[in-house]
Subunit: 243 residues, 2 copies
DNA sequence: CGGCATCCGGGAAGATACTG
DNA sequence: CAGTATCTTCCCGGATGCCG
């Protein structure tokens, strides 16, 4: 087997195309299929293995994940890499251009978060949570803050570095963190976006804080949600009034 | 018939969901289906009728367009409106929140335009073209320019107003334009993005210019394309070199 | 276990024809 | 013009099983 495999229909590309020169349409040709953008999202903080992706994308099936990874690789968005011998497992990683689509995810997320139907109580993956921090940080509220906040979510750890109104997020060691949140991503989301107090969440045993508690409390206030769009119901009420 | 019609399955919503609190995933629940984002694109410069949408989205079928419009209306992105008696036809229009997704289209288009596989020679709708102008204008190159450029594309006309490094685009009258391009959208795209000279295109009879020709020539230089991402072939060559 | 190929059922998309 | 009805095709999701 010289190249990984022979695609069934004469070397790739009998996929459906929009046949439109518009860059948006071409983008949809690349990542418009179901799950594709979420696969990219999950790779945004670094490489992952096949089964990590499956675990972080509840609902995706193995064959669909395979197809998406093939498609994204063919498009030059994802590449596969073999880790050095110690753990010779295969991982999927974004190319430089793949990483460059974070602004797309940000614009899209910012817009969709205003949907009247958005339900923030659904489960959320760690990557989504930290991407949302990068997206929603209010530089004004973070002004003058210079701190390291760590997160322990099950097996994985993330470090958020705040300085000069900017934010940096890295997956990995949380040594030297000034404060550490310990809990599932959903609990942290409830604290930051759901307005749940640390006390309540701690009482429920779903979220704990170690280190600088004042810092932790302040951290929760740094990510204001955008105003919701007018819902259909509200629009109907308004129309009735102005009839 | 009080409400337009009864949706078959107990009032809406048995669509597939990702079940993910991430705003990106929710956005995909709203506009992730095929054609949805392109329908929104076509409405970006104002209301359109069903058949206008069909004409500007070559390849979409009537039933799919119907479904997308229903879905987008249910989501609060599109609304239907009946025009006043003179021309009592129905049109589809974006809600305020619908218009707010232009930054999503822009970020997405900017990213996708860097795809090695992007083919700008395909047909393009007028709306895509003018959205691309709003997206790609280089304020530095437009500095000091104060002008009105008109476009006559078949039946519809667009006016581009440049001033103070900013751009405004309106569909409608092109009276008071300093220069006017006359031709199909594809020809204008070839001139702006394909590097084709006005002379060549005029000789082919696909593009004409009236009014200030100097202005027209300068206009073509205002929208630089972003650098392409490294193609798979180039990456392979580079890898071979560093082996 | 990780990474697939394969088969199957349901449903969404595409094409065409038809109606108010 | 603005859709609906119908039929076919293809994609998605789930299960199973192979192979290193």
């Amino acid at each position: 087997m010289k190249s990984r495999k022979i695609t069934k229909d004469t070397e790739s590309s009998s996929r459906r195309h929009y046949g439109d020169a518009c860059a948006v349409a071409h983008g949809l040709d690349l990542v418009g299929e179901r799950w594709a953008l979420l696969v990219i999202r999950e790779l945004m903080f670094g490489p992952k293995r096949f089964s990590d992706l499956r675990a972080d994308l509840p609902g995706i099936s193995a064959n669909v994940l395979t197809q998406r990874l093939e498609g994204l690789e063919a498009a030059g968005i994802v590449m596969r890499r073999k880790l050095p011998p110690p753990a010779a497992s295969q991982v999927y990683e974004l190319t430089a251009w793949g990483y460059d689509c974070e602004p797309v995810l940000q614009a899209f997320g910012r817009w969709a978060a205003r949907s009247p139907e958005h339900d923030p109580s659904l489960p959320v993956s760690p990557v989504s949570l930290f991407l949302s921090f990068r997206t929603m940080l209010d530089p004004v509220r973070a002004r003058g803050l210079d701190a390291r906040v760590g997160f322990r979510l099950g097996a994985s750890t993330f470090l958020v570095r705040l300085k000069g109104g900017k934010i940096e997020v890295t997956r990995g060691s949380i040594d030297h963190a000034d404060a550490v949140f310990i809990g599932q991503a959903a609990a942290i989301a409830a604290a930051v976006y759901g307005g749940q107090s640390l006390k309540t969440l701690a009482a429920q045993g779903v979220l704990m804080v170690e280190g600088d508690r004042k810092l932790a409390e302040r951290f929760l206030t740094l990510f204001p949600l955008p105003a919701k769009a007018e819902s259909m119901a509200a629009r109907a009420r308004r129309e009735r009034r102005t009839d």
